[in-house]
Amino acid sequence: MLDFLRRIASLCRKELLAIFKDPANRVILIVPSLVESFLFGYAATYDLTNVPYALLDQSGGIHAAELVARLDGSGVFHRAATLRTQKEIADVIDAGKALVVVQIGQRFEQQLNEGGMAPVQLILDARNSNTAGSAAAYIGGIIEGYNATLQSGAAPPLPQITVESRAWYNPNLETRWNLLPGLIASLSMIQTLMLSALSVARERENGTFDQLLVTPFSPMEVMIGKAIPSIMIGLTQSTIVMMVALFWFRIPMAGSLVTLYTGLTLFTVASVGLGLSISAVSANMQQAMLYTFMLIMPLILLSGLATPVRNMPEFLQIATLINPLRFAIDLVQRVYLEGVGLLTVIHDLIPLLIISAITLPLAAWLFRHRLL
C-alpha cells in the first residue's frame, strides 16, 4: 500500500512538474480563467444599465413632461434624441441610436384629463429581443408607478393593489449572481478537459508514453497519476473563479465550502475522466485538441449556463443528462446561492458519480488497449 501511494505520488509529481515547467502552460492555466471570470462578470449581463431612448412628444403637456422626467430620472434610460416627426423614428431605430422610441400622442393630455386611457407608444428595436423585452417591462414599471401617483390624488380613491415582490437568493436579480457561480464549474471544465485530453496525447507524441509503459506502472496507476494532477488544477481554477466571485464581485456565499468542494471534486473527476478517455482514443495532440473542442462547445451551450435547460426542447433536455456540466452548474448555483446541503443536491451528485465510474475505468482500459 505504502509502495502504491509512493508510486502514485511520484507520478503526480512528475505530471505537475511537466505541466508547470512549461511557461506557456503556466500562462494558459492561470490567465484565461482569471480574465474570463472578470470579463464574464462584467460583460455577461442581461440587466439594463444604459438604454438610449428617443422621445417623440407630440402633446407637449405637463403630464407628458412628468412621465418623461421619471424616465430620465430612472438612471437606466437616457435620452439619445428628441424627435419632431413620426418619420424620424425609423432613422434612430435603424441606425441603432435608440433602443426605444417613446411616442406620446397629441391627445395624451386630453385623454388623461378626461379620465380615460392615454396610450403611450413604445417602439422597440427588437434585433436583440431580450434587451427589448426587458426595456419594455422596465418602462411598463415606470408607467405603473406614475399611474399610482396619478390615482392617489383622486377622490374617491380606487382600490389599490401594492405588489410587494421579493427575489429569493438574488435580491437584486443580477445576472452576474447566477453567471459567476456557473463559471466556477464551466471555466475549470474547459481547462481540465483540455489538459487531461492532451496529457496522454502529448506523451504519446513525445514518445514518453512508451517509456512509461515499459516501467512497472500498471495502467490503473498511470491513469490515477494523470487524473490527480488534472483534478488538482481543476479545483484550483474553480477556487480562482470563486475568489473573484466572492471578493471582487462580492456575491455572498450562502452554502458551506465543504459541500461546494465535495460537489466540485466529483464534477472535476467526471470531467477528467472524460478528458482522459478522449486522450486515450486520440492518436496525436491535434486530434485530442479537435475532439475536445468539438465536445466543449455543446457541453457548455447545453449546460444551462447561458440559457436555462428548461427552455430547451424535450429531446435536448434528455441529451443534457450525459453532460456533467449541467449537473455541476445546478449544484454550484444551489450550494452557492441557495445554501442547500448535500442531500438536496443528491440528484446532481449521482449522475456525476455515474459519469466518473464509466469514464475513468474506460480511460485506464484504453491506455493499454489502444497502442498503435
Binding site: P32, I93, I139, V163, P308, L316
Partner: protein
C-alpha cells in the same frame, strides 16, 4: 566552365528577365525530359536554368492553383478539419436554433390563495390571461416553498388572508416571490407578474368608469397605458437574433480557429521548409491557405442561411447580396487573424489557444451576440468596439431583421474592410520565407 559559357550562349537576354522577375518571358521551365540529357550537356541544361521564369509572375497562377489544389485535398482528407469546419457549425446551428432560448413561456407560478374570496380570485384571474405564466393554485405556503426550492415553480404569488378586507379598505398587498438564481428569467417573470396583477386595477378602473357618471369620471385623472411595438422581431423570439448572430461565430471558427491550426501544423511539421526553397512566393502560400478556408467559411454561411430560412423561418428584410458581400469581408478579417496567429506561434497547441481566446471567445461574449453591449461597463464596451466581430454582428442582424440601413451598412463595411486589409497585410508581413 563549360556550363557558365553555355548559360550565356543558350539563352541570351535571360539574365535581365531574371532580375525583373521575368514578367515578360513565358519561360521554358527547367524540368528536362531525360532524352534531352545529351542536349543539355551541350548547353541545354544551362538554357533552362538561369531564367527568372519559374519564379516570375508568369508562374503565379499555376503555382497558386497547384497549392490550392493541395490544400483542398488535405482539407478533404483530414476528418478533424472537416469536423470543425462542417460538423461543428451544424451542431451549433441546431443547438442555437432549438436548444437556446431566453424566452419565457408558460413559466410555472404557484399561487397561494390564503384568501379564497371572489375578489381575490378575480385578481389572480389576470394571471391566467398571460401567455407567459401558467399559474397553479396551492393552498399552503409551506408546500409552495418546497416547490420553489425544488425549482418546480419559478415564482410564488401569495394572496394573504386579509387581502379582500384590505382591498375593500382601499389598499391591499400582494406578495410576489421569485426564484432569483436565474436572474434574467426571474426578471422577466417578475415584470410579467407585475403587469398581469396590476391589470386588475386597470380593469377595475374601467369598470368603475363605466359605472360612474360622466361628470365624476371627468373629474379624475386618466391612466397611462403603454402600447409596445416590437420592431424587427415581431415574434419576439430569441431565435431571431441568435441564428443570424451564429453566422459570425461560425465564420470566426472556420476563419480564425481552423486556419490558425492548419497553418501552424505546416510550421510544426516542417513542411514549409521544403516549400520555401522553391519558386513559391509567400503571397502564394497565404492565398492558397485563404482560398479553401474561405470556401469552407462560405459553406458555413450557406448552411446558416438555409437553416435560418427554412428551419427557423427567420425573415430577411435586407439584401442577400449585401449580406454575402459583408460576410466575405468578415471572413477575410477572420482569416487574417488566423494566419497572423499561426505565423507568430508556429505551434498548433498555442495557436489554437490564442485563436480561441482572442477571436472566438470575444466573438461569443463581447460582440453583442448574447449580451447587449449597451449594458456593460464602459471599458468592456471599448473592447467590444475594438472587435471586428461586433461590427459584423450589428450589420448582419440589421440586414436580417431591419433591412438595408445604408448608413450602417457603409460604416460597418468600411470598418470591416479596413480590418481585413490591415490584418492580411500584417499576416503577409510576418510570413517570410525564413526559419529564424
Amino acid at each position: 566552365m563549360n556550363k557558365s559559357d553555355s548559360k550565356l550562349d543558350g539563352r541570351p537576354g535571360s539574365k535581365p528577365d531574371d532580375k525583373s522577375n521575368g514578367a515578360l518571358s513565358l519561360p521554358k521551365p527547367p524540368g528536362n525530359p531525360p532524352e534531352s540529357a545529351s542536349r543539355k550537356r551541350e548547353g541545354g541544361a544551362g538554357g533552362s536554368r538561369g531564367t527568372g521564369g519559374p519564379g516570375g509572375l508568369a508562374g503565379f497562377w499555376p503555382r497558386l492553383a497547384s497549392l490550392t489544389r493541395k490544400e483542398i485535398r488535405q482539407l478533404l482528407r483530414d476528418p478533424g478539419s472537416l469536423a470543425i469546419g462542417i460538423g461543428l457549425p451544424l451542431v451549433l446551428i441546431l443547438i442555437f436554433g432549438f436548444g437556446l432560448s431566453l424566452d419565457v413561456r408558460n413559466a410555472p407560478v404557484a399561487v397561494v390563495l390564503e384568501d379564497p374570496s371572489p375578489m381575490a380570485v378575480d385578481v389572480i384571474a389576470g394571471l391566467e390571461l398571460s401567455p407567459y405564466i401558467s399559474p397553479v393554485v396551492v393552498i399552503s405556503m409551506h408546500d409552495t416553498e418546497r416547490l420553489m426550492l425544488e425549482r418546480k415553480v419559478d415564482a410564488i404569488v401569495r394572496v394573504p388572508s386579509d387581502f379582500s378586507r384590505n382591498l375593500a379598505a382601499g389598499d391591499a398587498r400582494l406578495q410576489v416571490l421569485v426564484h432569483g438564481t436565474e436572474a434574467s428569467r426571474a426578471l422577466i417573470i417578475r415584470s410579467y407578474l407585475n403587469l398581469a396583477l396590476s391589470q386588475w386595477t386597470q380593469r377595475q378602473a374601467e369598470r368603475g368608469r363605466m359605472a360612474e357618471p360622466a361628470a365624476a369620471a371627468a373629474s379624475r385623472t386618466g391612466m397611462v397605458v403603454p402600447v409596445e411595438r416590437m420592431w424587427f422581431n415581431a415574434a419576439n423570439t430569441s431565435t431571431w437574433y441568435l441564428v443570424p448572430g451564429l453566422i459570425v461565430l461560425i465564420m470566426t471558427l472556420v476563419g480564425a480557429f481552423l486556419t490558425a491550426m492548419v497553418m501552424a501544423r505546416e510550421w510544426e511539421r516542417g513542411t514549409l521548409e521544403a516549400l520555401f526553397v522553391s519558386p513559391v512566393r509567400p503571397n502564394e502560400i497565404l492565398l492558397a491557405k485563404i482560398i479553401p478556408y474561405f470556401l469552407m467559411g462560405m459553406l458555413g454561411l450557406g448552411m446558416c442561411l438555409v437553416a435560418a430560412q427554412f428551419l427557423f423561418e427567420v425573415p430577411m428584410y435586407g439584401s442577400l447580396l449585401i449580406l454575402l458581400g459583408s460576410s466575405m469581408l468578415y471572413l477575410l478579417v477572420a482569416l487574417g487573424i488566423g494566419l497572423l496567429i499561426s505565423s507568430v506561434t508556429r505551434n498548433q497547441f498555442l495557436a489554437s489557444q490564442v485563436a480561441l481566446l482572442s477571436s472566438f471567445m470575444p466573438a461569443l461574449m463581447l460582440s453583442g451576440f448574447m449580451f447587449d453591449l449597451r449594458n456593460v461597463p464602459v471599458v468592456i464596451q471599448w473592447i467590444g468596439k475594438a472587435l471586428p466581430a461586433t461590427y459584423f454582428m450589428e450589420l448582419i442582424r440589421t440586414l436580417y431583421l431591419a433591412g438595408n440601413v445604408w448608413p450602417l451598412i457603409f460604416k460597418n463595411c468600411a470598418i470591416l474592410a479596413t480590418y481585413a486589409i490591415s490584418l492580411l497585410a500584417l499576416a503577409r508581413l510576418v510570413t517570410r520565407k525564413r526559419l529564424d
